[in-house]
Protein backbone atom coordinates (compact mmCIF):
# COMPACT_ATOMS: atom_id res chain seq x y z
CA UNK A 1 0.00 0.00 0.00
CA UNK A 2 2.85 2.38 0.85
CA UNK A 3 4.18 2.73 -2.67
CA UNK A 4 0.77 3.34 -4.08
CA UNK A 5 -0.18 5.80 -1.37
CA UNK A 6 2.98 7.78 -1.95
CA UNK A 7 2.57 7.89 -5.69
CA UNK A 8 -1.00 9.05 -5.24
CA UNK A 9 0.06 11.68 -2.73
CA UNK A 10 2.72 12.97 -5.09
CA UNK A 11 0.08 14.03 -7.61
CA UNK A 12 -2.45 16.05 -5.66
CA UNK A 13 -5.47 17.33 -7.48
CA UNK A 14 -7.88 20.07 -6.65
CA UNK A 15 -11.30 18.52 -6.10
CA UNK A 16 -13.08 21.80 -5.38
CA UNK A 17 -12.00 23.51 -8.55
CA UNK A 18 -12.84 20.64 -10.86
CA UNK A 19 -16.16 20.16 -9.08
CA UNK A 20 -17.12 23.72 -9.88
CA UNK A 21 -16.33 23.29 -13.50
CA UNK A 22 -18.20 20.03 -13.55
CA UNK A 23 -21.26 21.69 -12.15
CA UNK A 24 -21.16 24.13 -15.02
CA UNK A 25 -20.76 21.30 -17.48
CA UNK A 26 -23.64 19.45 -15.87
CA UNK A 27 -26.05 22.26 -16.52
CA UNK A 28 -28.10 21.51 -19.55
CA UNK A 29 -27.29 17.81 -19.39
CA UNK A 30 -30.31 15.66 -19.92
CA UNK A 31 -31.74 13.82 -16.95
CA UNK A 32 -32.59 10.17 -17.08
CA UNK A 33 -35.99 9.11 -15.74
CA UNK A 34 -34.95 5.50 -15.45
CA UNK A 35 -31.87 6.34 -13.42
CA UNK A 36 -33.90 8.70 -11.21
CA UNK A 37 -36.40 5.93 -10.41
CA UNK A 38 -33.67 3.34 -9.78
CA UNK A 39 -31.76 5.69 -7.50
CA UNK A 40 -34.80 6.70 -5.46
CA UNK A 41 -35.85 3.07 -5.02
CA UNK A 42 -32.35 2.27 -3.81
CA UNK A 43 -32.44 5.21 -1.43
CA UNK A 44 -35.63 3.73 0.04
CA UNK A 45 -33.78 0.55 0.97
CA UNK A 46 -31.41 2.63 3.07
CA UNK A 47 -34.09 4.83 4.54
CA UNK A 48 -36.97 2.45 5.34
CA UNK A 49 -35.30 0.61 8.25
CA UNK A 50 -34.71 3.97 9.93
CA UNK A 51 -38.30 4.97 9.27
CA UNK A 52 -39.34 1.68 10.87
CA UNK A 53 -37.21 2.50 13.90
CA UNK A 54 -38.84 5.90 14.24
CA UNK A 55 -42.39 4.59 13.76
CA UNK A 56 -41.78 1.78 16.23
CA UNK A 57 -40.52 4.17 18.86
CA UNK A 58 -43.85 6.00 18.74
CA UNK A 59 -45.80 2.86 19.68
CA UNK A 60 -46.65 1.08 22.89
CA UNK A 61 -46.06 -2.65 23.11
CA UNK A 62 -49.56 -3.50 21.94
CA UNK A 63 -49.36 -1.39 18.80
CA UNK A 64 -45.87 -2.73 18.13
CA UNK A 65 -47.34 -6.19 17.65
CA UNK A 66 -50.58 -5.27 15.93
CA UNK A 67 -49.96 -2.30 13.64
CA UNK A 68 -47.96 -1.99 10.42
CA UNK A 69 -44.28 -1.22 11.01
CA UNK A 70 -43.88 1.62 8.54
CA UNK A 71 -46.75 3.74 9.85
CA UNK A 72 -47.95 5.21 13.16
CA UNK A 73 -49.87 3.04 15.63
CA UNK A 74 -53.22 3.83 17.20
CA UNK A 75 -51.67 6.08 19.84
CA UNK A 76 -48.70 8.38 19.61
CA UNK A 77 -46.50 7.17 22.44
CA UNK A 78 -43.10 8.61 21.55
CA UNK A 79 -42.90 10.94 24.56
CA UNK A 80 -44.21 8.34 26.98
CA UNK A 81 -41.62 5.91 25.60
CA UNK A 82 -38.84 8.45 25.97
CA UNK A 83 -39.93 9.00 29.57
CA UNK A 84 -39.78 5.24 30.11
CA UNK A 85 -36.29 5.07 28.60
CA UNK A 86 -34.98 7.71 30.95
CA UNK A 87 -36.83 6.28 33.93
CA UNK A 88 -35.51 2.75 33.39
CA UNK A 89 -33.45 1.62 36.41
CA UNK A 90 -33.32 5.09 37.98
CA UNK A 91 -32.19 6.83 34.84
CA UNK A 92 -29.26 4.61 33.90
CA UNK A 93 -29.79 5.50 30.24
CA UNK A 94 -28.75 9.12 30.84
CA UNK A 95 -25.70 7.79 32.62
CA UNK A 96 -24.80 5.60 29.63
CA UNK A 97 -25.24 8.55 27.30
CA UNK A 98 -23.00 10.70 29.49
CA UNK A 99 -20.36 7.95 29.59
CA UNK A 100 -20.44 7.64 25.82
CA UNK A 101 -19.98 11.38 25.49
CA UNK A 102 -17.07 11.47 27.92
CA UNK A 103 -15.23 8.44 26.50
CA UNK A 104 -15.70 9.54 22.92
CA UNK A 105 -14.86 13.18 23.64
CA UNK A 106 -11.68 12.56 25.63
CA UNK A 107 -10.45 9.81 23.30
CA UNK A 108 -11.15 11.88 20.18
CA UNK A 109 -9.42 15.02 21.44
CA UNK A 110 -6.41 13.03 22.62
CA UNK A 111 -6.16 10.99 19.44
CA UNK A 112 -6.46 14.12 17.30
CA UNK A 113 -3.66 15.92 19.15
CA UNK A 114 -1.34 12.90 18.90
CA UNK A 115 -2.16 12.25 15.25
CA UNK A 116 -1.78 15.92 14.27
CA UNK A 117 1.66 16.27 15.82
CA UNK A 118 2.90 13.00 14.34
CA UNK A 119 1.37 13.57 10.90
CA UNK A 120 2.80 17.10 10.79
CA UNK A 121 6.28 15.84 11.67
CA UNK A 122 6.11 13.16 8.96
CA UNK A 123 4.98 15.72 6.39
CA UNK A 124 7.28 18.60 7.21
CA UNK A 125 10.52 17.20 8.63
CA UNK A 126 13.15 14.77 7.49
CA UNK A 127 14.71 12.63 10.19
CA UNK A 128 16.45 9.28 10.40
CA UNK A 129 13.86 6.52 10.56
CA UNK A 130 10.95 8.61 9.29
CA UNK A 131 10.14 6.27 6.41
CA UNK A 132 10.31 3.19 8.60
CA UNK A 133 8.14 4.67 11.34
CA UNK A 134 5.56 5.86 8.83
CA UNK A 135 5.45 2.42 7.21
CA UNK A 136 4.88 0.85 10.62
CA UNK A 137 2.02 3.29 11.21
CA UNK A 138 0.46 2.41 7.86
CA UNK A 139 0.86 -1.29 8.55
CA UNK A 140 -0.96 -0.78 11.84
CA UNK A 141 -4.09 0.31 9.94
CA UNK A 142 -4.38 -3.28 8.77
CA UNK A 143 -4.20 -4.90 12.20
CA UNK A 144 -7.70 -5.65 13.45
CA UNK A 145 -8.24 -3.72 16.65
CA UNK A 146 -10.16 -6.57 18.15
CA UNK A 147 -7.07 -8.76 17.83
CA UNK A 148 -5.42 -6.33 20.22
CA UNK A 149 -8.32 -6.05 22.60
CA UNK A 150 -7.89 -9.43 24.30
CA UNK A 151 -4.18 -9.01 25.21
CA UNK A 152 -4.86 -5.38 26.14
CA UNK A 153 -7.57 -6.61 28.49
CA UNK A 154 -5.14 -9.02 30.15
CA UNK A 155 -2.47 -6.34 30.52
CA UNK A 156 -4.98 -3.87 31.92
CA UNK A 157 -6.40 -6.36 34.35
CA UNK A 158 -2.94 -7.01 35.80
CA UNK A 159 -2.51 -3.24 36.08
CA UNK A 160 -5.98 -3.03 37.68
CA UNK A 161 -7.17 -0.69 34.97
CA UNK A 162 -10.13 -2.77 33.82
CA UNK A 163 -13.56 -1.52 34.79
CA UNK A 164 -12.32 2.08 34.76
CA UNK A 165 -12.93 4.72 32.06
CA UNK A 166 -9.21 4.57 31.18
CA UNK A 167 -9.61 1.03 29.92
CA UNK A 168 -11.78 2.36 27.12
CA UNK A 169 -10.06 5.71 26.57
CA UNK A 170 -6.37 4.72 26.47
CA UNK A 171 -6.56 2.17 23.61
CA UNK A 172 -8.77 4.59 21.66
CA UNK A 173 -6.03 7.24 21.66
CA UNK A 174 -4.14 5.44 18.91
CA UNK A 175 -5.33 6.38 15.44
CA UNK A 176 -2.88 5.29 12.73
CA UNK A 177 -5.40 6.34 10.08
CA UNK A 178 -5.51 9.79 11.72
CA UNK A 179 -1.73 10.08 11.40
CA UNK A 180 -2.00 9.14 7.74
CA UNK A 181 -4.77 11.68 7.08
CA UNK A 182 -2.88 14.45 8.88
CA UNK A 183 0.31 13.72 7.00
CA UNK A 184 -1.48 13.98 3.68
CA UNK A 185 -3.31 17.09 4.81
CA UNK A 186 -0.27 18.85 6.29
CA UNK A 187 1.73 18.37 3.13
CA UNK A 188 -0.50 20.77 1.17
CA UNK A 189 -1.95 22.89 3.96
CA UNK A 190 1.30 24.19 5.47
CA UNK A 191 3.59 25.68 2.80
CA UNK A 192 7.33 25.18 3.37
CA UNK A 193 7.94 28.80 2.39
CA UNK A 194 5.75 29.99 5.24
CA UNK A 195 7.73 27.90 7.71
CA UNK A 196 10.99 29.25 6.29
CA UNK A 197 9.74 32.81 6.63
CA UNK A 198 8.80 32.20 10.25
CA UNK A 199 12.26 30.71 10.87
CA UNK A 200 13.93 33.75 9.34
CA UNK A 201 11.86 35.86 11.71
CA UNK A 202 13.43 33.90 14.52
CA UNK A 203 10.49 31.71 15.57
CA UNK A 204 11.35 28.35 17.09
CA UNK A 205 9.98 25.15 15.56
CA UNK A 206 7.45 24.56 18.34
CA UNK A 207 6.29 28.16 18.13
CA UNK A 208 5.81 27.82 14.39
CA UNK A 209 3.67 24.77 15.03
CA UNK A 210 1.46 26.33 17.70
CA UNK A 211 1.04 29.77 16.16
CA UNK A 212 1.19 29.17 12.40
CA UNK A 213 0.68 25.55 11.47
CA UNK A 214 -2.11 24.57 13.85
CA UNK A 215 -4.37 27.21 12.34
CA UNK A 216 -3.75 25.91 8.84
CA UNK A 217 -4.23 22.33 9.98
CA UNK A 218 -7.54 23.00 11.73
CA UNK A 219 -9.91 21.67 9.03
CA UNK A 220 -7.94 18.43 8.81
CA UNK A 221 -7.96 18.18 12.59
CA UNK A 222 -11.75 18.51 12.68
CA UNK A 223 -11.99 15.61 10.24
CA UNK A 224 -9.73 13.39 12.35
CA UNK A 225 -11.65 14.46 15.45
CA UNK A 226 -14.93 13.42 13.86
CA UNK A 227 -13.58 10.07 12.72
CA UNK A 228 -12.12 9.14 16.08
CA UNK A 229 -15.21 10.49 17.87
CA UNK A 230 -17.50 8.27 15.86
CA UNK A 231 -15.16 5.28 16.14
CA UNK A 232 -15.14 5.50 19.93
CA UNK A 233 -18.84 6.36 20.09
CA UNK A 234 -19.68 3.25 18.07
CA UNK A 235 -17.19 0.92 19.73
CA UNK A 236 -18.79 -2.12 21.28
CA UNK A 237 -16.11 -4.79 21.60
CA UNK A 238 -13.67 -2.82 23.75
CA UNK A 239 -16.11 -1.51 26.41
CA UNK A 240 -17.86 -4.88 26.39
CA UNK A 241 -14.75 -6.69 27.57
CA UNK A 242 -13.23 -3.89 29.67
CA UNK A 243 -16.20 -2.77 31.74
CA UNK A 244 -18.56 -4.72 33.92
CA UNK A 245 -20.24 -2.30 36.27
CA UNK A 246 -23.49 -0.99 34.80
CA UNK A 247 -22.75 2.62 35.71
CA UNK A 248 -19.62 2.74 33.56
CA UNK A 249 -21.15 1.35 30.39
CA UNK A 250 -21.49 3.38 27.21
CA UNK A 251 -24.73 3.37 25.23
CA UNK A 252 -23.70 0.58 22.84
CA UNK A 253 -23.06 -1.97 25.59
CA UNK A 254 -25.99 -0.74 27.68
CA UNK A 255 -28.45 -1.04 24.78
CA UNK A 256 -27.14 -4.49 23.90
CA UNK A 257 -27.66 -5.61 27.49
CA UNK A 258 -31.16 -4.20 27.47
CA UNK A 259 -31.90 -6.05 24.25
CA UNK A 260 -30.58 -9.30 25.71
CA UNK A 261 -32.79 -8.82 28.77
CA UNK A 262 -35.86 -8.23 26.63
CA UNK A 263 -35.02 -11.16 24.34
CA UNK A 264 -34.69 -13.43 27.34
CA UNK A 265 -38.38 -12.64 27.60
CA UNK A 266 -40.64 -13.66 30.44
CA UNK A 267 -42.18 -10.71 32.20
CA UNK A 268 -39.80 -8.38 30.40
CA UNK A 269 -41.91 -8.03 27.27
CA UNK A 270 -42.69 -4.44 28.12
CA UNK A 271 -39.03 -3.72 27.45
CA UNK A 272 -39.37 -3.99 23.67
CA UNK A 273 -40.52 -0.43 23.22
CA UNK A 274 -37.90 0.77 25.70
CA UNK A 275 -35.10 -0.88 23.73
CA UNK A 276 -36.40 0.44 20.42
CA UNK A 277 -36.94 3.96 21.71
CA UNK A 278 -33.57 3.89 23.45
CA UNK A 279 -31.92 2.90 20.18
CA UNK A 280 -33.77 5.62 18.31
CA UNK A 281 -32.88 8.34 20.84
CA UNK A 282 -29.22 7.28 20.76
CA UNK A 283 -28.84 7.93 17.04
CA UNK A 284 -30.51 11.37 16.98
CA UNK A 285 -27.37 13.31 18.03
CA UNK A 286 -25.31 11.40 15.49
CA UNK A 287 -27.69 12.08 12.65
CA UNK A 288 -27.88 15.78 13.51
CA UNK A 289 -24.08 15.96 13.73
CA UNK A 290 -23.90 14.23 10.39
CA UNK A 291 -26.17 16.62 8.60
CA UNK A 292 -24.35 19.64 9.98
CA UNK A 293 -20.84 18.37 9.48
CA UNK A 294 -21.20 16.78 6.06
CA UNK A 295 -18.47 18.95 4.60
CA UNK A 296 -15.90 17.53 6.99
CA UNK A 297 -16.92 13.95 6.36
CA UNK A 298 -16.45 14.43 2.72
CA UNK A 299 -13.08 16.13 3.15
CA UNK A 300 -11.91 13.24 5.26
CA UNK A 301 -13.15 10.51 3.00
CA UNK A 302 -11.87 12.41 -0.01
CA UNK A 303 -8.40 12.70 1.51
CA UNK A 304 -8.37 9.01 2.26
CA UNK A 305 -9.89 7.98 -1.04
CA UNK A 306 -8.47 10.35 -3.61
CA UNK A 307 -4.97 10.29 -2.32
CA UNK A 308 -5.03 6.79 -0.93
Amino acid sequence: MTAQLNSAIAAPQKPAESANRRRKANRGKRRSNLLTVVMWLSALYFFLPLLWLFMSSTKDNGDLFTTFGLWFGNDFNLFANIRDVFAYQDGIYARWALNTGIYAGVAAIGATVLATMAGYAFAKYKFPGDKLLFSITLGAIMIPLTALAIPTYLLFSSAQLTNTPWAVILPSLVSPFGVFLMRVYAQDAVPDSLMEAARVDGAGEYRIFWTVSVRLLAPGMVTVLLFTLVATWNNYFLPLIMLNSGKLLPLTVGLAQLQATSAAGGGAQALFSTVITGAFVSIIPLIIAFLYLQRFWQTGLATGGVKG
Binding site: P49, V113, I150, Y236, L240, A302
Partner: protein
Protein backbone atom coordinates in the same frame (compact mmCIF):
# COMPACT_ATOMS: atom_id res chain seq x y z
CA UNK B 1 21.37 24.27 5.77
CA UNK B 2 24.03 24.02 8.43
CA UNK B 3 24.44 20.90 10.47
CA UNK B 4 23.47 22.31 13.85
CA UNK B 5 20.14 23.60 12.54
CA UNK B 6 19.45 20.29 10.82
CA UNK B 7 20.11 18.40 14.03
CA UNK B 8 17.88 20.73 15.96
CA UNK B 9 15.06 20.22 13.50
CA UNK B 10 15.44 16.45 13.72
CA UNK B 11 15.16 16.63 17.47
CA UNK B 12 12.03 18.75 17.13
CA UNK B 13 10.54 16.20 14.75
CA UNK B 14 11.21 13.41 17.23
CA UNK B 15 9.53 15.57 19.85
CA UNK B 16 6.43 15.79 17.66
CA UNK B 17 6.15 12.09 17.00
CA UNK B 18 7.15 10.98 20.50
CA UNK B 19 3.71 11.28 22.19
CA UNK B 20 2.00 9.29 19.45
CA UNK B 21 4.64 6.58 19.44
CA UNK B 22 4.69 6.26 23.22
CA UNK B 23 0.95 5.55 23.22
CA UNK B 24 1.29 3.47 20.06
CA UNK B 25 3.99 1.33 21.66
CA UNK B 26 2.08 0.74 24.89
CA UNK B 27 -1.39 0.28 23.37
CA UNK B 28 -0.42 -1.44 20.13
CA UNK B 29 3.04 -2.99 20.00
CA UNK B 30 3.10 -4.31 23.57
CA UNK B 31 -0.34 -6.01 23.37
CA UNK B 32 0.56 -7.42 19.97
CA UNK B 33 3.82 -8.86 21.28
CA UNK B 34 2.09 -10.11 24.43
CA UNK B 35 -0.55 -11.78 22.29
CA UNK B 36 2.18 -13.54 20.31
CA UNK B 37 3.87 -14.61 23.53
CA UNK B 38 0.65 -15.93 25.11
CA UNK B 39 -0.19 -17.88 21.99
CA UNK B 40 2.87 -20.06 22.52
CA UNK B 41 1.57 -21.51 25.79
CA UNK B 42 -1.30 -23.82 26.66
CA UNK B 43 -2.97 -25.22 29.72
CA UNK B 44 -2.42 -28.93 30.04
CA UNK B 45 -4.31 -31.28 32.32
CA UNK B 46 -1.13 -32.20 34.10
CA UNK B 47 1.47 -29.57 34.85
CA UNK B 48 -0.66 -26.46 34.19
CA UNK B 49 0.62 -23.79 31.81
CA UNK B 50 3.23 -25.19 29.44
CA UNK B 51 5.25 -23.88 26.50
CA UNK B 52 3.85 -25.56 23.39
CA UNK B 53 5.55 -23.46 20.65
CA UNK B 54 3.16 -23.46 17.70
CA UNK B 55 0.83 -26.02 19.24
CA UNK B 56 -2.09 -23.59 19.42
CA UNK B 57 -1.70 -22.72 15.75
CA UNK B 58 -1.66 -26.37 14.76
CA UNK B 59 -4.75 -26.83 16.91
CA UNK B 60 -6.49 -23.96 15.10
CA UNK B 61 -6.00 -25.59 11.71
CA UNK B 62 -7.55 -28.78 13.02
CA UNK B 63 -10.38 -26.98 14.80
CA UNK B 64 -13.54 -27.27 12.76
CA UNK B 65 -15.22 -24.43 14.69
CA UNK B 66 -12.45 -22.04 13.65
CA UNK B 67 -12.30 -23.34 10.08
CA UNK B 68 -16.07 -22.97 9.63
CA UNK B 69 -15.75 -19.42 10.94
CA UNK B 70 -13.08 -18.73 8.34
CA UNK B 71 -15.32 -20.35 5.74
CA UNK B 72 -18.17 -17.96 6.60
CA UNK B 73 -15.76 -15.06 6.33
CA UNK B 74 -14.67 -16.35 2.92
CA UNK B 75 -18.33 -16.47 1.82
CA UNK B 76 -18.78 -12.89 2.97
CA UNK B 77 -15.66 -11.85 1.06
CA UNK B 78 -16.82 -13.62 -2.10
CA UNK B 79 -20.52 -12.67 -2.00
CA UNK B 80 -21.20 -9.68 0.20
CA UNK B 81 -18.12 -7.56 -0.50
CA UNK B 82 -18.51 -7.62 -4.31
CA UNK B 83 -22.24 -6.81 -4.01
CA UNK B 84 -21.60 -3.98 -1.57
CA UNK B 85 -18.75 -2.45 -3.56
CA UNK B 86 -20.62 -3.00 -6.83
CA UNK B 87 -23.59 -1.01 -5.55
CA UNK B 88 -21.31 1.62 -4.04
CA UNK B 89 -19.53 2.07 -7.36
CA UNK B 90 -22.80 2.14 -9.31
CA UNK B 91 -24.30 4.76 -7.00
CA UNK B 92 -21.13 6.85 -7.06
CA UNK B 93 -21.02 6.78 -10.88
CA UNK B 94 -24.75 7.51 -11.14
CA UNK B 95 -24.50 10.49 -8.79
CA UNK B 96 -21.38 11.71 -10.53
CA UNK B 97 -23.06 11.58 -13.93
CA UNK B 98 -25.64 14.08 -12.69
CA UNK B 99 -28.36 12.23 -14.61
CA UNK B 100 -30.65 11.47 -11.64
CA UNK B 101 -32.99 14.07 -10.15
CA UNK B 102 -32.47 14.90 -6.49
CA UNK B 103 -28.88 13.62 -6.42
CA UNK B 104 -28.05 15.48 -3.23
CA UNK B 105 -30.91 13.98 -1.25
CA UNK B 106 -30.21 10.52 -2.65
CA UNK B 107 -26.56 10.77 -1.65
CA UNK B 108 -27.51 11.77 1.87
CA UNK B 109 -30.09 8.98 2.28
CA UNK B 110 -27.63 6.33 1.11
CA UNK B 111 -24.91 7.66 3.41
CA UNK B 112 -27.22 7.99 6.42
CA UNK B 113 -26.81 4.40 7.73
CA UNK B 114 -23.14 5.13 8.30
CA UNK B 115 -24.24 7.47 11.10
CA UNK B 116 -25.95 4.58 12.87
CA UNK B 117 -23.70 2.71 15.33
CA UNK B 118 -23.17 -0.93 14.44
CA UNK B 119 -24.89 -2.09 17.61
CA UNK B 120 -28.04 -0.09 16.86
CA UNK B 121 -28.03 -1.27 13.23
CA UNK B 122 -27.91 -4.93 14.26
CA UNK B 123 -30.47 -4.43 17.00
CA UNK B 124 -32.84 -2.74 14.58
CA UNK B 125 -32.45 -5.32 11.83
CA UNK B 126 -32.78 -8.09 14.40
CA UNK B 127 -36.24 -6.78 15.27
CA UNK B 128 -37.13 -6.19 11.61
CA UNK B 129 -36.27 -9.82 10.85
CA UNK B 130 -37.91 -11.00 14.04
CA UNK B 131 -40.89 -13.30 14.44
CA UNK B 132 -42.73 -11.10 16.94
CA UNK B 133 -43.41 -7.80 15.25
CA UNK B 134 -40.88 -7.98 12.43
CA UNK B 135 -41.39 -5.88 9.34
CA UNK B 136 -40.37 -8.68 6.97
CA UNK B 137 -43.03 -10.94 8.50
CA UNK B 138 -45.69 -8.24 8.20
CA UNK B 139 -44.86 -7.64 4.54
CA UNK B 140 -44.86 -11.38 3.80
CA UNK B 141 -48.27 -11.80 5.46
CA UNK B 142 -49.57 -8.78 3.57
CA UNK B 143 -48.55 -10.41 0.32
CA UNK B 144 -50.04 -13.73 1.41
CA UNK B 145 -46.66 -15.42 1.63
CA UNK B 146 -45.53 -17.67 4.46
CA UNK B 147 -43.23 -15.68 6.76
CA UNK B 148 -39.57 -16.55 6.35
CA UNK B 149 -37.37 -16.92 9.38
CA UNK B 150 -34.40 -14.81 8.40
CA UNK B 151 -32.56 -15.81 11.54
CA UNK B 152 -32.71 -19.54 10.86
CA UNK B 153 -29.56 -21.69 10.59
CA UNK B 154 -29.49 -21.52 6.84
CA UNK B 155 -30.37 -17.85 6.37
CA UNK B 156 -28.70 -16.04 9.23
CA UNK B 157 -25.42 -15.57 7.37
CA UNK B 158 -27.24 -13.92 4.46
CA UNK B 159 -29.26 -11.77 6.83
CA UNK B 160 -25.98 -10.60 8.34
CA UNK B 161 -24.62 -9.86 4.88
CA UNK B 162 -27.65 -7.66 4.30
CA UNK B 163 -27.04 -5.72 7.52
CA UNK B 164 -23.40 -5.08 6.58
CA UNK B 165 -24.36 -4.05 3.07
CA UNK B 166 -27.01 -1.67 4.41
CA UNK B 167 -24.53 -0.10 6.81
CA UNK B 168 -21.52 0.29 4.52
CA UNK B 169 -22.62 0.92 0.94
CA UNK B 170 -22.90 4.64 1.70
CA UNK B 171 -19.46 4.89 3.25
CA UNK B 172 -17.82 3.23 0.27
CA UNK B 173 -19.94 5.26 -2.12
CA UNK B 174 -18.71 8.53 -0.60
CA UNK B 175 -15.06 7.45 -0.91
CA UNK B 176 -15.56 6.56 -4.59
CA UNK B 177 -17.69 9.64 -5.26
CA UNK B 178 -15.00 11.91 -3.82
CA UNK B 179 -12.44 10.23 -6.07
CA UNK B 180 -14.69 10.67 -9.12
CA UNK B 181 -15.14 14.34 -8.39
CA UNK B 182 -11.40 14.86 -8.50
CA UNK B 183 -11.04 13.58 -12.07
CA UNK B 184 -10.21 16.58 -14.27
CA UNK B 185 -13.41 17.26 -16.25
CA UNK B 186 -11.55 17.82 -19.55
CA UNK B 187 -10.86 14.11 -19.61
CA UNK B 188 -14.42 13.02 -20.02
CA UNK B 189 -15.86 16.14 -21.58
CA UNK B 190 -13.85 15.32 -24.67
CA UNK B 191 -15.19 11.78 -24.70
CA UNK B 192 -18.75 13.01 -24.23
CA UNK B 193 -18.47 15.43 -27.13
CA UNK B 194 -17.28 12.51 -29.23
CA UNK B 195 -20.54 10.82 -28.33
CA UNK B 196 -19.32 8.20 -25.87
CA UNK B 197 -22.18 6.75 -23.82
CA UNK B 198 -22.24 7.12 -20.02
CA UNK B 199 -21.53 3.41 -19.62
CA UNK B 200 -18.57 3.55 -21.94
CA UNK B 201 -17.33 6.68 -20.20
CA UNK B 202 -17.60 5.04 -16.79
CA UNK B 203 -15.88 1.86 -17.94
CA UNK B 204 -13.00 3.28 -19.94
CA UNK B 205 -12.35 6.65 -18.32
CA UNK B 206 -13.76 6.97 -14.83
CA UNK B 207 -13.18 3.53 -13.31
CA UNK B 208 -9.52 3.32 -14.37
CA UNK B 209 -8.97 6.81 -12.98
CA UNK B 210 -10.24 5.94 -9.51
CA UNK B 211 -8.42 2.64 -9.16
CA UNK B 212 -6.53 3.71 -6.00
CA UNK B 213 -9.82 4.61 -4.28
CA UNK B 214 -11.36 1.29 -5.33
CA UNK B 215 -8.32 -0.51 -3.93
CA UNK B 216 -8.77 1.34 -0.66
CA UNK B 217 -12.41 0.28 -0.37
CA UNK B 218 -11.49 -3.33 -1.17
CA UNK B 219 -8.79 -3.42 1.50
CA UNK B 220 -10.99 -1.75 4.12
CA UNK B 221 -13.77 -4.22 3.32
CA UNK B 222 -11.41 -7.17 3.73
CA UNK B 223 -10.24 -5.88 7.10
CA UNK B 224 -13.87 -5.27 8.10
CA UNK B 225 -15.04 -8.73 7.03
CA UNK B 226 -12.47 -10.46 9.20
CA UNK B 227 -13.51 -8.36 12.18
CA UNK B 228 -17.23 -9.11 12.18
CA UNK B 229 -18.33 -9.38 15.77
CA UNK B 230 -21.36 -7.22 16.61
CA UNK B 231 -23.71 -9.12 14.33
CA UNK B 232 -23.23 -12.61 15.79
CA UNK B 233 -22.86 -11.28 19.34
CA UNK B 234 -26.21 -9.49 19.26
CA UNK B 235 -28.17 -11.88 17.05
CA UNK B 236 -27.20 -14.89 19.13
CA UNK B 237 -29.64 -13.58 21.76
CA UNK B 238 -32.47 -13.74 19.25
CA UNK B 239 -31.50 -16.98 17.58
CA UNK B 240 -29.22 -19.00 19.87
CA UNK B 241 -29.14 -22.18 17.81
CA UNK B 242 -28.32 -20.57 14.47
CA UNK B 243 -25.13 -18.94 15.72
CA UNK B 244 -22.45 -21.30 17.07
CA UNK B 245 -19.50 -20.14 19.19
CA UNK B 246 -17.24 -19.98 16.17
CA UNK B 247 -19.63 -18.15 13.84
CA UNK B 248 -16.89 -15.70 12.85
CA UNK B 249 -13.23 -15.94 13.88
CA UNK B 250 -13.48 -12.76 15.90
CA UNK B 251 -16.58 -13.94 17.74
CA UNK B 252 -14.75 -17.21 18.34
CA UNK B 253 -11.73 -15.46 19.86
CA UNK B 254 -14.08 -13.55 22.17
CA UNK B 255 -15.90 -16.70 23.27
CA UNK B 256 -12.65 -18.58 23.79
CA UNK B 257 -11.22 -15.84 25.98
CA UNK B 258 -14.27 -14.81 27.98
CA UNK B 259 -16.60 -17.81 27.97
CA UNK B 260 -14.19 -20.76 27.81
CA UNK B 261 -11.41 -18.91 29.67
CA UNK B 262 -8.82 -20.23 27.23
CA UNK B 263 -6.83 -17.04 26.73
CA UNK B 264 -3.83 -18.69 25.15
CA UNK B 265 -5.79 -20.27 22.36
CA UNK B 266 -7.80 -17.07 21.94
CA UNK B 267 -4.55 -15.13 21.54
CA UNK B 268 -3.41 -17.57 18.87
CA UNK B 269 -6.68 -17.12 16.97
CA UNK B 270 -6.46 -13.33 17.22
CA UNK B 271 -2.86 -13.38 16.05
CA UNK B 272 -3.67 -15.70 13.20
CA UNK B 273 -6.51 -13.41 12.19
CA UNK B 274 -4.20 -10.40 11.94
CA UNK B 275 -1.81 -12.47 9.89
CA UNK B 276 -4.51 -13.69 7.49
CA UNK B 277 -5.75 -10.11 7.00
CA UNK B 278 -2.25 -8.89 6.16
CA UNK B 279 -1.74 -11.69 3.63
CA UNK B 280 -5.12 -11.30 1.95
CA UNK B 281 -4.76 -7.50 1.76
CA UNK B 282 -1.28 -7.87 0.35
CA UNK B 283 -2.35 -10.37 -2.30
CA UNK B 284 -5.28 -8.17 -3.37
CA UNK B 285 -3.03 -5.16 -3.59
CA UNK B 286 -0.42 -7.00 -5.59
CA UNK B 287 -2.93 -8.41 -8.06
CA UNK B 288 -4.52 -5.01 -8.57
CA UNK B 289 -1.15 -3.39 -9.10
CA UNK B 290 -0.26 -6.06 -11.63
CA UNK B 291 -3.41 -5.32 -13.57
CA UNK B 292 -2.44 -1.68 -13.59
CA UNK B 293 0.94 -2.48 -15.08
CA UNK B 294 -0.59 -4.66 -17.75
CA UNK B 295 -3.11 -2.10 -18.90
Amino acid sequence: MNKAIKRKQQLVAYGFILPFFVVFATMFIVPLAYSGYLSLFAHTLVGGLKFVAFGNYVRAFEDSAFLFGLGRTALILLIQVPIMLGFALFFALALDSGRARGSKAIRLLIFLPFAVPGVVAVLMWGYIYGQNFGLTGQIARGLGLPPTNFLSDSLVLFSIMNIITWAFVGYNMIILYAALKSIPPELHEAAEIDGASQLRLAWSVKIPMIRPAILLTVIFSIIGSFQIFNEPKLLVELSPTAIPQGFTPNFYAFNLAFVNQDVNYAAAIAFLLGFVIMIVSYVVQLSMQKKEHRS
